[in-house]
């Protein structure tokens, strides 16, 4: 895919067919991704629905840093905006704008990861990491019990960790696309890679939109 004319793979009839196949492939892949996170959401829901677990879940949730969670949500939503604008720039053949927007998207992703790293470190200092830094005795009062608390925290780490892995991959892809765009690999006739990885980026954002209430907001009952 070095030049516009060389973008057509030999087993496709034309670029339109190839573009459609790429987009469909990404949607199908995202269906798989959805089920990966779906398994986690199901596990989370199954535990939280048990009557005596919800108090522990909410209590543990209130210990997370809602401020960082909120800022990160804004950062990530902004990155979705730059991503959408990048796809538009690609469609219109604006090479410079495309490169800048892809780099901005990667930058916002990196900022998110930076905040997340700070937050993880803070969680560690607050002894919120079962198996590593966690004191069961701290979590034994009223309806709160250490078992459900460590369950909630494990779901928090696995869910946000998996999300972070996806985001890291996304950042690497954005940088690759930016280099390709700089070299002129895309044209208004062939920009499927920007299009499909845009879908991927939005998917990763949408997952975060679900993680925010599940992990951060359930602990805010009665606080506002």
């Amino acid at each position: 895919m070095s030049a516009n004319t060389g973008a057509l793979w030999e087993h496709y009839e034309n670029l339109e067919q190839q573009h459609e196949a790429n987009v469909l492939g990404m949607w199908v892949f995202l269906a798989t991704e959805l089920l990966i996170f779906g398994a986690l959401f199901t596990g989370y829901a199954a535990y939280r629905a048990q009557g005596d677990y919800s108090a522990s879940f909410e209590h543990a949730s209130s210990k997370l840093n809602l401020g960082i969670g909120a800022v990160n949500t804004v950062v990530l939503l902004t990155s979705s905006l730059t991503m959408a604008l990048a796809v538009r720039a690609a469609r219109l053949g604006r090479r410079r704008a495309l490169v800048v927007l892809l780099l901005l998207t990667a930058l916002f992703g990196t900022v998110f990861m930076g905040f997340k790293a700070v937050e993880y470190y803070e969680d560690y200092e607050k002894k919120l990491v079962p198996g590593l830094a966690f004191d069961p005795e701290e979590w034994r009062h009223g309806p709160v019990k250490p078992g459900p608390v460590q369950l909630f925290l494990m779901f928090y780490y696995v869910m946000t960790g998996l999300h972070a892995v996806h985001l890291t991959l996304g950042i690497a892809i954005m940088l690759t696309l930016a280099v390709m765009a700089g070299r002129g690999s895309f044209s208004p006739r062939w920009y499927a890679p920007v299009d499909i990885w845009g879908l991927y980026w939005h998917f990763v954002d949408v997952v975060w939109i679900f993680l925010l209430p599940l992990l951060y907001l359930i602990g805010t009952h009665g606080k506002f």
């Binding site: 196949a21 469909l24 269906a31 089920l35 398994a39 596990g43 199954a46 494990m154």
Partner: protein
């Protein structure tokens, strides 16, 4: 019988030009030579062969484990291996055969090779992803072999907690990684097959002109895509539990082991259909060809594949009737399990109706398919026993269950795999296998299979539990019968391995269409040229126009 004479050959297909004197035709095998040309290939046909070789190796290793299990079970006590070794052996057998053979077998070899050809495409939609899927598979396979030969794993293929978390001191983590890798390799293949079916069909290849094999691959791919990630996540959670010492599925720490079973079977029950639907697709191709009749009830067979895929997602908890789930849930899952038998039965009736008044010829592929129908029907009907709540409580975790799913997976899928291998061998290699030996092998496999697994139904009904190393002495006669059958089965599998390799060099030249079959894959030379067709075919009729072909032949 080399070139078909049917007037119903789809228009616009030029058989590759006859080679001039002294010039050999270019096909996918001689288009390039050298290790690099294989390991870096993006040709779906070459990748299919890579898969065929690696799957055969895994099948042999899984088969050796089974052999040792059966030898060990010859005697009720005085064992040839230690109980721990026995646990590792049945785990190795299950993990290899399911994750590294059956799930990939037909889609990755025959789906990969023939789905693009059947729909008139030059390759799969994403050739590099296709190659990546093989590498991911190999990475998983190397990892599991490293585990098995480096000490083994004793969790069973089901990885139930706490067997896989607290109480196992074997190499569980790398095993989990290997299974997840195998899963993702199948996801890549499935993604490719779905997009190819949607976007790369030749002109005139409408949905209802698709060969039924393509329909079944399509349904299978959907199951793979939607079920595999759930298994991957469940296994990752077990890995997290082991690695971090936390209790996601540990009741002592607030977790619930039954949740693991739910997540596991949400994949692993549909996985049964991942394994058997492709086999049904193979049978739907072979039966019309060797009965010289249009397939009976095309629409019913096509939609029953979709029906199995959908309902198959809603029956997983029938593996958990004794695991403490609510009686109402058990009731509904029991009912749905009965329901999923309906589309399977539709297929069996349609195949039988296709045979009715056909001019049946009993070549090796057909013998395998007839074997499939018989064994699959027995496996399916005993599945209904297990779907019944009260009976399941009696035979749960006994050899009855073992026999039931081996009838489906070995009697069904492996039998169809053998049929597919013989049916398409001439196309893949350009050579015929020895027909007489092929028929003998098919019969040996059938007899060996019955002798191995029929006694296990009785064993299970009498109460012999699965996975036990020692057993009560009164079960010995049936166990000896089963082991004797397994040795016959081993001969049946070794035979094709030998003569198929032999045929590569000394087999008779096959010609483009030795079976006089109608599918697009037969309208091109054997072995096919690198891009399958000299020019893109234009399709003007359905895939099984045998009746018209036969009439034309008898008139002309």
């Amino acid at each position: 019988m080399s070139i078909i004479t049917s007037p119903f050959r789809p228009q616009g297909i030029a058989l590759a030009p006859a080679p001039g004197p002294g010039r050999r035709p270019v096909h996918y095998l001689n288009a390039a030579y050298g290790v690099r040309s294989w390991l870096l290939t993006t040709d779906h046909k070459r990748i299919a062969l890579l898969y065929l070789v690696s799957l055969t190796l895994m099948f042999i290793i899984g088969g050796l484990a089974a052999t040792l299990i059966r030898l060990d079970l010859l005697t009720p006590s005085n064992k040839m291996m230690h109980a721990d070794t026995y646990n590792k052996m049945f785990s190795a057998h299950g993990i290899i055969m399911i994750f590294f053979f059956l799930v990939a077998a037909i889609p990755a070899v025959f789906g990969n090779f023939f789905l693009p050809m059947m729909i008139g495409a030059r390759d799969l939609a994403f050739p590099r992803l296709n190659l990546a899927s093989w590498y991911v598979y190999v990475a998983g396979a190397v990892m599991i072999l490293w585990v098995i030969f480096g000490g083994g794993v004793d969790t069973g293929w089901t990885f139930y907690t706490p067997y896989s978390s607290k109480s196992s001191h074997t190499q569980v983590l790398p095993t989990l990684v290997a299974a997840v890798l195998a899963g993702f390799s199948s996801v890549f293949t499935a993604l490719n097959l779905i997009v190819t079916t949607h976007r790369l069909r030749a002109p005139g290849m409408t949905w209802f002109r698709l060969p039924l094999f393509v329909w079944s691959m399509y349904a299978t791919s959907f199951i793979v895509l939607l079920a595999t990630p759930v298994l991957a996540m469940a296994l990752i959670l077990v890995g997290v539990e082991r690695a971090c010492g936390v209790g996601i599925f540990d009741p002592a720490l607030g977790g619930d082991p039954v949740l693991f079973q739910h997540l596991f079977w949400f994949y692993s029950h549909p996985a049964v259909y991942i394994m058997v639907l492709p086999a049904m697709g193979v049978v739907s191709e072979i039966i019309p060809c060797f009965a010289r009749k249009n397939v009976f009830g095309y629409g019913f067979i096509a939609f029953s594949s979709i029906g199995i895929a959908v309902v198959g997602f809603l029956v997983w908890a029938h593996h958990m009737f004794v695991a403490g789930i609510s009686v109402y849930a058990a009731l509904i899952f029991s009912l749905l399990s009965y329901l999923v038998a309906v589309p399977s039965a539709i297929k069996v009736f349609n195949w039988t109706a296709t045979l009715y008044r056909g001019s049946v010829s009993l070549q090796t592929p057909m013998l395998c398919c007839l074997g499939f129908i018989g064994l699959f029907t027995m496996g399916g009907l005993t599945g209904l026993f297990l779907a019944a709540l009260a009976v399941d409580v009696h035979v749960h975790d006994t050899y009855f269950v073992i026999a039931h799913f081996h009838f489906i997976m070995v009697g069904g899928t492996v039998m169809a795999y053998m049929g597919a291998l013989h049916y398409w061998w001439p196309k893949m290699t350009g050579r015929m296998y020895p027909e007489g030996l092929g028929r003998i092998a098919a019969v040996i496999i059938f007899v060996g299979f019955i002798l191995t697994f029929l006694p296990q139904f009785v064993l299970g009904y009498l109460g012999m539990p699965r996975r036990y190393h020692f057993y009560a002495p009164e079960f010995q006669v049936l166990n000896v019968l089963s082991t004797a059958g397994a040795s016959i089965l081993a001969v049946g599998y070794a035979l094709p391995l030998t003569y198929l390799l032999w045929s590569l060099r000394w087999g008779e030249k096959a010609g483009p269409n030795p079976w006089n079959a109608t599918g697009l894959e037969w309208q091109t030379p054997s072995p096919p040229p690198p891009h399958n067709f000299a020019e893109t075919p234009v399709v003007t009729c359905g895939p099984y126009e045998y009746t018209l072909q036969e009439e034309a032949a008898s008139v002309g």
